[in-house]
Amino acid sequence: MEINNSSSSSEGIEEMEEMEMEIEVLPSMWPEDIDSEKPYNVERPAGDGEQDMLEEVTIRAAASAVDFHHLKALTSYTDRGSHQMSHLMRHWEHQQANAVRLLREELDILSRQREEVELKKLEILEHFQFEEDNCKRPISILDKHVELYGDGVPRKKFVDFVVRSDRRVELAAESDTVAYWKARAANLEKLLEASVHREQILVEKLEENMKELEGQGSPVEELSQILKRADNFLHFVLQNAPVVIGHQDKELKYRFIYNQYPSLNEQDILGKTDVEIFKGAGVRESQDFKKEVLEKGVPAKREIAFETELFGLKTFLIYVEPVFSKSGETIGVNYMGMDVTDQVRKREKMAKIREEIAVQKAKETELNKTIHITEETMRAKQMLATMSHEIRSPLSGVVSMAEILSNTNLDREQRNLLNVMISSGDLVLQLINDILDLSKVESGVMKLEATKFRPREVVKHVLQTAAASLQKVLTLEGRIADDVPIEVTGDVLRIRQILTNLISNAIKFTHDGKVGIDLYIVSDPGCGRAEENHKKLMLDQATANGRKEEQCTSTSQSCNGHQNGYHNDNKHVDGASHNHKLNDNKPRTPVKNENTRDRGGEEEEEDECHVQETTVWLRCDVYDTGIGIPENALPNLFKKYMQASTDHARKYGGTGLGLAICKQLVELMGGQLTVTSRVNHGSTFTFVLPYKVSPACDSSSDDQDELSDMTDHTNASVSDQDETAGFFQFQPRLLGSLFSSSNGPIRTPKLVPNSFGNTNSPPLNGFLEDGNSSFPSSGIGSKETTTSFEDAYSTVESIGTTSEPGTLFGSVSKECQNGELRSTESSRRTNSEESTSGSQGSCLSTENPDRSSQQCSSSGNNTSHAEADKVKPMPRILLVEDNKINVMVTQSMMKQLGHSIEVVNNGIEAVKAIQRHYYDLVLMDVHMPVMDGLQATRIIRSFEDSGSWDEAAKAGIELPAASSEPSTNGHNSHPNSRDRIPIIAMTANALSESAEECYANGMDSFVSKPVTFQKLKACMDEYLP
């Protein structure tokens, strides 16, 4: 029983505790419930309840102004207002219902507890009964049980059963002691008391709860608390926001406004419209905007820039929202404005920057494009130059091959075809040269060289070359005033180029009459056409000198005036002296003649000799009696690719580059090129150029020349005579053909080797005469020569008898190189019928000095080859090259070609090597340290021309003592020592080491680098047949 009791009591306590736990849990549910509403609370100001909240806020906010009546009306009339109210009500009701539900639940729990307590009480009482009627029938218990059962407590049954079974055990154990039962009764009593006490506590608690519930009472308080929270929240958020919130009614009168930083009192605003309040830009716009929203009934946003007296220039982002009544009419607008001035300003700045960036980018791309184009142009020019260079070398190969071919036996048609081929090739070559020149001048690569030269020789040579290729019946003449210095300094190559160009132009457009060159000193180019250039010049000159020179030249001009007469006189003298000289085998007499004659010329020069170094302006007129140039064509004459008319272009051909190049070259040298012309009467191209003269050197070098000439050979005296010759004339080519036809049949190639050295037979001399005397005979009073053909014949004969074989050979080959080929050509054509009748055309095909020189050397080689047949030595080849690798490669290639070569590393070594030995061929690098190929070639050529190594000595190369003997003796022992050694340039660059430069310095040909097998082979084949 005890166990049972204690267990039941503990059970009861446990239940109590359970209940208390439940009770404790309940209050925690309460705030949770409210919490769940909280997010709703927060949402409200933003959502449906916005208007309501705002109104509430404004009531409390000091900064806001409100029309209370209107507000109440708003809340009751507008849809949103009533919605707001009903929502609040619903919320309150919901809360209330919740509270009621909770209370009910608690009540249920309490009543259940009470039932249990009563049940316990009953149990206890039963125990008690059982104790008192110890042995009563069990039925009574059963009755009770039934009674209880009827009470409807299901648990009772089980409890009862347990109790009963327990009781039996207890009955069996200790039912007889009274003390035990008493103690037990007391115990039960205590339990009962505790139970009653607990019940009392519960009741108290219940009452407390009831009271609490009652205290929670009114919804208004709670609502106002919620509102207060929302209000605080809004205030917190809006405190510093640059926001204006307002409500305007149908007439757009302000009914409510919230403004954190008010600049007007609320009475100034309420009941007024925007327009009534503000003045300035933007006010009207905002008013219209609001009206628009009011009419459309759709909320909208807009950015409006205000400029009012009130707050200056400011931009507001305005949000306007229509407010509807319950019946759906718009009764006003809610308005919210935010100051976005800074943002707008930033935005505008950004836009501006972006715009600038865009503009800059556009500019950049434009610039890049320009740069690109410029680069392209530059590259194209470079490319053109390189290309031209690359094209030229194979083309010259083609042309020279064609020329060689023209020397073979051909029938008439073949020859015609070949002539077309050659002339086309020549045209292309000329075009390429022109392009190269132009691009050089334009790209500023063209370098002018200052070399001493003799203007007379240049003029003569140009005319001679032109005459050689003349295909018309024209007289070519050159007049050089006596006061023109013998030697001047300038870029002879370019001047010759200009002259050649102008002359060939003149010939091209002249069908009969004459073409000529006048060269004379002009004092003051400023008086003439070249004013600017003159100024430049005058700066150079000392004023005293200038004055002197003016005087000097005035006399010279007067000389010019009766120039013709003078020259006519001279002609006779020249002719006489010439014949005399040729007849006389002592060289002294002609020199004397020259000297006496020179005195006259030099006296005038003496005047200039006082000045150490002066600049002389030489004017050169190139005149013709051709078709002339119409006046309207003159302006375009010097432009690139322009000819006087397309008609001319068709008729006369040509590239249209010639005059442009001439002009550019003349201007590059500081001069001026002009033209005067009369249609059908002729044109005169005039260029005036400054030259440096150093008279002191001049006269001394003259003397030297004379001396060396005296010791030298006959042909030297011829050149001596040229020095001062003032007039050259080349008659129509009838003469030339006469010569060649007369020589042709007599001199056969087979005869050459033998007849050269030993026989003085007239036929050979005829050949020599042609080569040798062609300059003087045609240069000096050619009329006489024409008439006295026999004369010339006899003079040559006399030379032939007296001169040594070596000299003869030397002079012949020299003349050949100067471009006089006719005889060789004609001699090859001896047996062909055309040689007499049609030789003129073919003979005259040589236009190009380059080519003619090539032919010359080849013809020269023919003879040497003929000699070689006897001795058959290996050809000696010298390679002058500083680059080890190039040496290695070239050497190896030559080895494969079956040649062994000697190698030296620079120009000086090359000169030394040539002083020591004879070489059949020299391969000369142009660009070398110590001494470059050009200078070395010049020195070698000067030796070949003069027989002395003076130039070498000047350059600091000493003549090797041991070998000096053979070199001088070599004239006799080795007939080839004074022969022109073929020198082939090896060039690397089209622009800086031009072919012209090579030719000008006396080189015969060039091989562009890198050298290849084919190029070398072609070269060997050409020069070492």
Binding site: N883, I885, K1009, T1012
Partner: protein, 150 residues
């Protein structure tokens, strides 16, 4: 025999690629044609001489360009040398670089020269490696019993 033909194939491919990528031009083929029984290693000799030369020239130029006052004439003559050599062995890229280098020298553009020098140096090393591979291939062919040129 199979190995040999394979090697030959490889060599041909490699040579072609060098030509295609512009490392070499026809001048190199010329060099190769110059090889015969009497000078079987001619190309290699020339090329190794070339690289020695390159090394020297590059060092010279680098030294010259480091100086306070650059002697552009000296640099220019070195560039000219290099250009001549490279065009002789057919080192096309180096030759082309030299052209640019020369213009830099002419305009006395020190930075440009430095850049070109570095480029040249780089190209030299690159070409050296390539050619070493090429020659190794050739030697393999010879040791396999083949002959060069094929």
């Amino acid at each position: 025999m199979d190995v040999l033909s394979q090697l030959r194939h490889q060599l041909a491919d490699y040579t072609n690629s060098l030509h295609r990528d512009g490392f070499l031009d026809d001048q190199f083929s010329q060099l190769q044609q110059l090889q015969d029984e009497s000078s079987p290693d001619f190309a290699m000799e020339v090329v190794s001489l070339f690289f020695e030369d390159c090394q020297k020239l590059v060092t010279n130029m680098a030294r010259a360009l480091e100086l306070q006052a650059v002697d552009f004439k000296q640099v220019d003559s070195s560039v000219h040398q290099l250009k001549g050599s490279s065009s002789s062995v057919g080192a096309a890229r180096i030759k082309n670089l030299c052209v640019a280098f020369k213009t830099c020298c002419d305009s006395q553009n020190r930075d440009g020269c430095m850049r070109c020098l570095q480029e040249v140096n780089r190209e030299c090393v690159l070409l050296k490696n390539k050619l070493q591979t090429l020659f190794r291939l050739e030697q393999q062919i010879i040791s396999a019993g083949g002959s060069i040129p094929m």
